[in-house]
């Protein structure tokens, strides 16, 4: 990697040097020829001119190839690092899916940094240095002026554009977000706007957002314009000053011409650096965000020497568990998500967790899967604290249908097989049938591409696909988070009935807010505001007043 980078820099510098050499040799050749020396005096310059001309093209080609190779390797490395940093369970971040796609975009910044900023800057520095050396041999005072000009164009100007770009980015980003929000209103809220005759007002708001953004962008263009003008001015005035000095110092026509043309051409690799400076603002921000991701501590600590993985049959015990999603957003309530929950899951037992949204049901599953660190209390498997087990081992024992299951951009078969890489067709089909997905799979085809580019998957199908994965994986303790969510009434009823059938005699923890069929589970635990408020069998719970009976009654009322 490091060696390749050096090669790329060298090739780029060689290309720029060849360009410089070409013009210097040509200038020397012509002005010296005008003095009509013997032809032999010119032969070196003639050869040099041709060599530099060829070299310039060839070196440039090598630079671009090695530069892109280095950049692609660097980007791959960055992505690998980022992915590696994301593998351990993370604390939830604000921004969700948008944040992830920005993170992925950010990894491209590394490529930009190398190809558009660092490599050209290094090559420009070498070329500038060479020009200064040429100047020193002819007239040190002129070389000094050249250094000043090059430094202003190659350091001060890019630093200025970078600072300005950073300032403008901070002002433009909110305007951009506002525009995106108003456009989204017009598209996603189209039905509401049209039905309530509010589309005209929404259109005006979007147009106003566009105008605000355009006004900012117009003013931002001044940065670019000023950089262009400054570069032109610095190049021209430096050349004029160099010529003036050379003529004043009686350097002679050959020296003056070589000095002037070297100075003129040495700016060529330097001037684009101002634009690179503008780009730098975005790149440094992206790199900073990536560093923050990598530096973030994982949500749970892995033990230094993990205890051996317990063998089935498993008894899972949750003892007085307190989990707090820290840190709470400023000024908000800091009630723990789970506030002293205890639970015992013996082999073959099925427990259902019921409660309003936000009661901590999913947090309990996350704690079991070792995705969040408890504040106090503990979870043990056959007596072993899960904190002493490797996180991956814990998730081998206890997993299933989690919140927000994801469909990958690959075939239906591969989407299933990630939960059972060695599973044969027969097992795949059984899992699919148990999840009531058989008909859809037959219609869609095992090799149909799913995910973003492929066939769209409805909420209900997605849920059943995730369930099929969980059944295929067949963990010793099956966790199911709202398996019937997003399904229509009839399908949900049938699915729950089948599910309760399939999981008979399997250690299962089921989170649900549908009570139908729960008469068959061994225990129902009602969670409210992070605490267990009721527990017992279905018929015991409907007999006493409380959340469960209220929910049961309203469910019965809504059923025919």
């Amino acid at each position: 990697m490091g060696k390749r980078l050096v090669w790329a820099v060298l090739a780029g510098a060689a290309a720029d040097l060849a360009g410089l050499g070409l013009i210097a040799a040509a200038a020397w050749l012509i002005t010296r020829a005008a003095q009509q020396p013997p032809l032999a005096a010119l032969s070196v310059a003639i050869v040099a001119t041709r060599a530099f001309a060829t070299g310039k093209g060839v070196f440039r080609y090598v630079e671009r190839l090695t530069g892109h190779d280095v950049a692609l390797r660097a980007q791959a490395g960055t992505r690998e690092d980022l992915y590696g940093a994301l593998i351990p369970p993370q604390r939830p971040r604000h921004g969700g899916a948008d944040l992830l796609s920005r993170m992925v975009d950010d990894t491209e910044a590394v490529q930009d940094l190398l190809v558009r900023c660092l490599l050209p800057a290094a090559a420009a520095a070498v070329a500038g240095l060479a020009a200064v050396v040429v100047g020193l041999t002819i007239l040190p005072l002129a070389a000094l002026v050249l250094v000043a000009g090059l430094a202003l164009a190659g350091l001060a100007l890019p630093a200025g554009t970078a600072a300005a770009a950073r300032r403008w980015a901070a002002r433009i980003a909110p305007a951009r977000a506002e525009l995106a929000g108003r456009v989204a209103d017009l598209v996603h809220g189209s039905a509401d706007l049209a039905a309530y005759g509010a589309d005209e007002a929404a259109l005006r708001r979007a147009e106003a957002a566009d105008e605000a953004l355009a006004a900012l962008e117009r003013r931002q263009a001044r940065v670019h314009a000023a950089a262009l003008a400054g570069g032109t001015l610095l190049q021209g005035l430096t050349v004029a000053a160099v010529v003036l000095l050379a003529q004043g110092a009686q350097v002679g026509s050959v020296g003056t011409a070589v000095l002037a043309l070297t100075a003129l051409v040495s700016f060529e690799p330097v001037l684009p650096l101002a634009a690179a400076g503008e780009r730098m603002a975005g790149i440094t921000a992206a790199l900073r965000r990536l560093r923050e991701v990598r530096a973030a501590a994982p949500a749970v600590a892995e033990p230094a020497a993990p205890a051996p993985r317990p063998e089935s049959p498993l008894t899972v015990e949750v003892e007085d568990l307190v989990v707090r999603h820290s840190p709470a957003p400023a000024g908000r309530e800091t009630r723990p998500a789970l506030d002293g929950v205890s639970l015992r899951l013996t082999p073959g037992r099925r427990v259902a967790i019921v409660g309003p949204s936000g009661a901590g049901k999913s947090t309990l599953l996350a704690a079991l899967m070792r995705l969040v660190e408890p504040e106090s209390g503990r979870v043990t498997v056959n007596g072993a604290d899960v904190r002493d087990l490797a996180g991956d081992d814990v998730r081998t024992l206890m997993t299933g249908l989690t919140q927000d299951p994801y469909i990958f951009r690959t075939t239906l078969r591969d989407n299933l097989r990630l939960a059972g890489p060695d599973a044969g067709d027969e097992r795949l089909r059984r899992a699919v049938d148990d999840a009531r997905l058989g008909d859809w799979v037959e219609r869609t085809g095992w090799d149909a591409e799913l995910g973003e580019d492929g066939r769209t998957v409805s909420g209900g199908q997605l849920q059943r696909l995730a369930l099929a994965r969980a059944l295929l994986y067949d963990p010793p303790v099956l966790l199911l988070d709202e398996p019937a969510e997003a399904l229509d009434e009839e399908t949900a009823d049938r699915l729950m009935a089948d599910l309760l059938d399939v999981t008979r005699d399997r250690t299962t923890l089921l989170v649900t807010h549908r009570l139908k069929g729960l008469e068959s589970v061994d225990e129902v635990v009602v969670l409210e505001e992070g605490r267990v408020t009721q527990r017992g069998r279905h018929d015991e719970l409907v007999a006493v007043p409380g959340y469960y009976r209220d929910l049961w009654e309203s469910e019965v009322l809504t059923r025919r």
Binding site: A76, A221, Q247, A466, T558
Partner: protein
């Protein structure tokens, strides 16, 4: 050049002016390089005195000024074009309406109208000026070279066309390769994003670490494939670079030899040396800018594709009549068939039914059966392909859509909340509603959670209602409907989908009140909602397959069914 984009620029006066200034500044700055070369050659050869350096500095100053003007006006051109295009797109989005938008991928539309158009910057500020410069400056340089030295001019004249010719040749041979590579690149980016998004799922099944290896393999395969194509693709720049630099050597060496023989003077020689590269530079710059502007061209294509689509949106001239009466109307569908473009099966097929004033109709049936389409038909979002919809005997197409919709209260399946206060979200359809009206509407919709929000009704909800739960969003949308007390027709699309039992009970109670004294058409899945209705219509594959209310008196049936329903629930409990 992009035809549609040029037409757009010609239509906008300010853009036209700014573009003209940009191009003139770019071309003038390019021509001033000739003057600069002339002065420099004169000073270096000793023909001009050092005083000419003052003139040189002045030329440089003017060039800087022109560069500044070019930068400013190019920026204005770009924002002007983007704004013009964006305004047209926004108007188009409004015009398409919910019916027309359904044919597009909504996320893509939002991106295109927002960030997508920024791709045009490179095209407008870089490529367009470079075309103008490339069209003028090389010719001017050639003319000057011919006047100065015929032999050199001929060399430049012969080699100059090699640049576009080689550029096009190499471009053509590598086009397919680079396109394939671009596709692979976006697929790689997509693969990585896909894996990162799915990490929680991979983690749950112990596949997260395995995927790290896959990511490495995919990236490595992509890199080696990319490098293979780049080795060829960069040949084009190698050829161009060689053309330009070898031509310079080709010019410089004979000049030196002729100077030696005394057949050429130094001023001319230096002028030729300074000018020759300037003939090639604009062409190469144009080539580079062209590649950088491809993204913008793609954005423009996508934008004009949206602008040119044939939406069956509002037709001019039609639909100006006011709806006949004020009270709950009778709505009659006569043999209505609705088709969506690009779909084979009709969404509604030959549906005939009459909804009497004040009737409460539940639309049931599995998803995709045509229930939402029926609501959208009544809202005027979609038009019947055949058949017609009559409101108190008047064809819906003849009615002014705004006036008709003013009589409706609608709750969408996934109501959209706007990033403004809860109160303003509720008064969406009644901008004049007082705070008291809003409060009453919220109360009626059982949106009692609003009082508990940090700033009550003044609480600003996040984009798309991000800081409210699904049930809360649903109830705000229901309050919207309540905030239109004059509405005589209620259209609800699954108002209790995705709600838990308690929220559902609240929404059902609110809906029951709202439906009183109005015609109500409710798409319903859940029995509680269905029980509100006095008539149930079952739709399947776009057809009415069952209708409890068609021939019988509503009152009697309702009594019967409610009794039956209670009997069954008693048994279960």
């Amino acid at each position: 050049m992009h035809k549609d984009l040029l037409r757009l620029m010609r239509a906008e006066r300010a853009v036209r002016l700014h573009l003209a200034v940009t191009l003139v500044a770019a071309v003038l700055a390019g021509l001033l390089v000739l003057v600069q070369a002339e002065l420099l050659a004169g000073v270096l050869s000793g023909r001009f005195t050092a005083a000419a350096l003052g003139a040189l500095a002045a030329v440089v100053g003017v060039r800087a000024l022109l560069a500044w003007a070019q930068g400013i006006f190019a920026g204005r051109t770009a924002t002007g074009v983007k704004s013009a295009l964006r305004h047209r797109l926004l108007a188009r989005l409004r015009e398409l309406g919910p019916g027309g938008l359904a044919a597009h991928r909504s996320g893509e539309l939002v991106t295109l109208t927002g960030r997508g158009l920024d791709g045009l910057d490179a095209y407008l500020t870089g490529y367009l000026p470079s075309i103008a410069v490339a069209a003028v400056v090389p010719i001017a340089v050639l003319v000057r070279l011919f006047a100065a030295d015929l032999a050199s001019a001929v060399i430049v004249l012969v080699t100059l066309p090699l640049i576009p010719i080689f550029g096009a040749l190499v471009g053509m041979t590598t086009k397919a390769v680079t396109e394939r590579q671009y596709l692979a690149l976006s697929r790689l980016g997509g693969h990585f994003l896909d894996v990162v998004r799915g990490l929680p799922t991979l983690r749950a099944f112990g596949r997260a670490r395995y995927q790290a290896g896959v990511i490495r393999e995919v990236a490595e395969a992509h890199r080696s494939a990319t490098m293979r194509t780049l080795r060829v693709a960069f040949l084009s720049s190698l050829v161009l670079e060689l053309c330009a630099s070898l031509s310079l050597a080709l010019v410089a060496v004979p000049i030196g030899l002729r100077l030696l023989g005394g057949s050429l003077d130094l001023t001319t020689a230096l002028l030729v040396l300074l000018l020759a590269p300037e003939a090639y530079l604009p062409l190469r710059a144009m080539g580079t800018r062209f590649h950088a502007s491809m993204e913008g061209v793609a954005a423009a294509d996508a934008a004009f594709a949206v602008l040119d689509t044939e939406g069956d949106a509002r037709r001019e001239g039609a639909g100006r009549a006011a709806p006949p009466s004020a009270g709950p109307p009778e709505i009659r569908l006569e043999n209505v068939t609705v088709r969506y473009p690009g779909r084979e099966a009709a969404a509604l097929e030959d549906v005939t039914l009459t909804i009497r004033p004040g009737e409460r109709v539940a639309l049931v049936g599995e998803s995709g059966g045509g229930k939402s389409t029926l609501l959208h038909l009544l809202l005027g979002f979609v038009q019947p392909a055949t058949g017609r919809v009559l409101v108190d005997g008047a064809d819906l197409r003849e009615l002014d859509p705004a006036a008709w919709r003013a009589r409706l209260a609608f709750v969408a399946q996934r109501p959209h909340l706007f990033a403004t206060s809860v109160a303003d979200n509720i008064r969406l359809g009644a901008p004049g509603a007082s705070d008291e009206d809003v409060r009453r509407a919220a109360e009626a919709a059982h949106a009692d959670f609003v009082a508990a929000l940090p700033q009550g009704f003044a609480t600003v909800v996040g984009e798309r209602g991000a800081n409210l739960s699904a049930g809360q969003r649903q109830r705000v949308a229901l309050a919207r409907a309540f905030c239109r007390p004059e509405a005589s027709v209620l259209l609800l699309d699954e108002p209790t989908a995705r709600l838990d039992g308690r929220s559902e009970a609240a929404v059902v109670a609110g809906t029951a009140e709202l439906a009183r004294g109005r015609t109500a058409v409710i798409v319903a899945h859940r029995p509680a909602m269905i029980d509100l209705a006095d008539r149930i219509i079952r739709l399947h594959a776009g057809r009415v397959v069952a209708d409890t209310g068609a021939p019988v008196e509503p009152g009697g049936r309702q009594g019967e069914r409610v009794a039956a329903g209670h009997g069954e629930s008693g048994g279960e409990a």
